[in-house]
């Protein structure tokens, strides 16, 4: 609503002046903007008088100001309207000055104190434990044992459940730990063999976890939504994205960039998919199953454990629980990448390079066929003889 100044306006429509009428305004708020009724007359009179007094005062002030400024009525000269583009002054002369001032302030407040055992929520994301150093206490502290209400359980999880408390199923952390270590071993080995690992975590509160874990593991991430058909209809969905050819030392080979141009681009599939909330990613797991891609997933008590290849029984709703499990797997992947690079330094590839060569040959063949279709007298494929010889 556009607010107008509450100056008394004349000539209102007299619609509610009948005394005793149910629509007759009984309070001043109802009467604003309407003709006064016997009920509101007294109040309105006093308000009107006050408004008139204000107006006359305002007029007096203005006329005094006008006298001071030779007839021109001055405008509000408060600092913010000094100039259209005037910036408020910066509290520090530069960013470096600000940083040093804040650092000095922090040092001054910390002077004489020693903070021990402070909990920082970001530690679980920035510096997760290794698979060998995860303990049952850590899993418990990060709420990995909390399952869902007993009415919502999936009976396939019965061997993972420790018991019931407060109406929810409690997951056995010993089982969680052993399955977690098994999954970590799988992740490490896939990374060591140069496989494409994909972290999928579509809950809003796990975005940072997924991105950080994927970057640490030199892997790939999805934090918003798995597009159905990314594998089954990859040519339509993923073909716009760039791919690259790398050598044993993970350096990009630019001479193949031309071969990977738009039309010749082929779609890649992950070699291992880690799903942090399988309940919401059923389609993703189904597609992975179609293409024989092994999956790892955090299996809560309401999830069917058969959906994933390597289930990790645990809490998929708490961000801390997800951060811990995803962090451990990413640490394992990091170790695998390190082993792969170590071997590459010594000139040994931990995976067959023939796959890449076949892929590139296929691309060049496709390019050859395309040339022929384009009308050129293209080369014959190997082994073909001209029948008119």
């Amino acid at each position: 609503m556009i607010l107008r100044q509450l100056v008394v306006r004349h000539d209102h429509q007299a619609i509610r002046s009948i005394p005793g009428h149910p629509d007759e305004p009984s309070s001043l708020l109802d009467a604003v903007g309407h003709k006064s009724t016997p009920n509101t007359a007294g109040i309105e009179e006093s308000v009107g008088e006050a408004a008139e007094k204000l107006n006359s005062l305002h007029g007096q002030v203005l006329s005094m100001q006008a006298a001071q400024h030779d007839g021109a009525i001055p405008v509000d000269k408060s600092p913010q309207y000094l100039g259209q583009d005037a910036l408020p002054p910066a509290p520090y002369p530069s960013l470096a000055a600000m940083n040093s001032a804040l650092a000095a302030q922090e040092e001054a407040t910390a002077h004489g104190t020693e903070m021990l055992g402070v909990y920082h929520p970001s530690t679980i994301i920035e510096d997760p434990p290794m698979p060998s150093t995860v303990t049952l206490e850590m899993l418990l502290a990060n709420q990995c044992h909390l399952g869902h209400a007993t009415q919502l359980w999936h009976p396939g999880n019965s061997s993972y459940i420790f018991g019931i408390r407060n109406g929810i199923h409690i997951i056995s952390l010993e089982i969680t730990l052993s399955y977690l270590r098994r999954a970590a071993r799988v992740v490490q080995e896939v990374a060591r063999r140069g496989g494409i690992i994909l972290f999928v975590g579509t809950k809003k509160n796990t975005k940072d976890v997924v991105v950080t874990s994927a970057l640490r593991a030199e892997a790939y991430h999805i934090f918003s939504r798995w597009i159905p058909g990314s594998l089954t209809n990859g040519q339509q969905i993923l073909d716009r994205a760039n791919i690259k050819v790398v050598n044993g030392q993970d350096e990009e080979l630019s001479q193949y960039a031309e071969a990977l141009e738009n039309e010749n681009r082929s779609v890649l599939r992950p070699d291992l998919v880690i799903v942090l909330n399988p309940v919401e990613n059923e389609v993703c797991l189904h597609e992975c199953g179609i293409y024989n891609i092994p999956t790892i997933g955090i299996v809560d008590t309401n999830v069917n454990p058969a959906w994933v290849t390597y289930p990790i029984p645990g809490n998929d709703d708490s961000p801390r629980s997800v951060a811990l499990i995803s962090g451990v797997l990413s640490k394992a992947a990091q170790e695998g990448q390190r082993l792969r690079k170590e071997a590459a330094q010594q000139g040994k590839l931990t995976y067959p390079a023939q796959r890449a060569k076949d892929f590139l040959q296929q691309l060049s063949l496709i390019a050859g066929i395309k040339d022929v279709q384009g009308g050129r007298q293209g080369g014959r494929s190997r082994g073909e003889k001209d029948k008119d010889d």
């Binding site: 306006r9 999805i222 760039n242």
Partner: protein, 302 residues
């Protein structure tokens, strides 16, 4: 020539199994001979060079990988941009800001321009999240803004001269007139303001003839009334469309805009008086399943 005769003789007279037919070398050889009767070019597939280094050459392809960690999202460029802006926000959220109206005026890429730049069909809501981050990063005080933030913001600037993106201020012509355009509901008003004695003409008629209602007359003159400049300016307004009150309100807005050309410093006064905002209220459309915009047919239990 001899080859052709031979192949036609043997190709048609004898039956060859599929394997022999597809393997071209066999057809040329006579079926009853185990040795080559004449010279011919055999296809020799030479072995590759010996790898003495014992490892991979640095230019040998080893793996095909996606270029971006967001490859499987289907929109990797958009995702990477979003992550970059969010990371900058996280790092520099404590740096002092300026109020939104004082931040440098930047024209960001339009959705169509971003789509063609990234090559992805990004949704409008998704691009809006990027725009929100850009406006927030743009509010970091320019003096304290890190270079990397400035570089990233410049990547999203609409191409074209910076001067083009500034709002053009209105002008006063040779006769001392300023023009303001105002709209309300279906009415549109062109208001010309010139310093004068306080005459008002609306569509060539006096204001009393144009707006019989006092309320409408007061609305039309409101910008001059609150700034106490009724006797300082002459107003010439051309209004069309809509009804009487709509035209009066359109004149209000047009007059305010014309007045701001003469005296830009009056903006806070007029804003507090409610003359600067264009009233967006318009007749609501009729919807299917209803009789009017809101009126629904009588509810029947069965």
């Amino acid at each position: 020539m001899a080859q052709k005769a031979l192949s036609s003789f043997f190709g048609r007279a004898t039956w060859t199994c599929r394997r022999c037919r597809t393997n071209q070398q066999w057809i040329q050889r006579p079926q009853f001979s185990t040795s080559l009767s004449r010279r011919e070019e055999l296809e020799i597939k030479t072995a590759p060079e010996i790898d003495f280094e014992g490892g991979q050459r640095s230019d040998a392809p080893a793996r095909i990988l996606p270029a971006s960690p967001s490859y499987f999202t289907g929109a990797p460029v958009f995702n990477d941009d979003l992550l970059l802006l969010q990371s900058l926000m996280n790092r520099f959220q404590k740096v002092p800001q300026v109020p939104a109206d004082k931040a440098p005026r930047m024209a960001w890429l339009r959705l169509s321009q971003y789509r063609s730049a990234s090559g992805e069909r990004v949704g409008a809501a998704k691009y809006a999240s990027i725009l929100r981050l850009l406006t927030r990063l743009n509010r970091i005080h320019p003096q304290l803004r890190p270079d990397e933030v400035q570089d990233v913001l410049e990547k999203f600037l609409r191409p074209g001269a910076q001067e083009v993106q500034k709002a053009r201020p209105g002008t006063i012509d040779v006769y001392g007139r300023s023009k303001g355009v105002g709209r309300r509901k279906e009415s549109s008003a062109k208001v010309y303001l010139i310093e004068g004695t306080g005459e008002i003409l609306v569509n060539g008629k006096s204001i009393v003839q144009a707006f019989p209602r006092v309320h409408d007359r007061e609305s039309a003159m409101w910008p001059l009334k609150v700034s106490e400049r009724i006797d300082k300016y002459n107003v010439f307004a051309l209004v069309a469309g809509g009804g009487v009150t709509g035209q009066a309100e359109a004149v209000t807005l047009g007059l305010a805009r014309a007045l701001l050309v003469h005296e830009p410093a009056l903006k806070p006064v007029l804003r507090r008086a409610g003359c600067v905002t264009r009233d967006p209220r318009a007749v609501e459309r009729k919807k299917p399943g209803r009789l009017k915009a809101r009126k629904k047919p009588t509810w029947v239990k069965r």
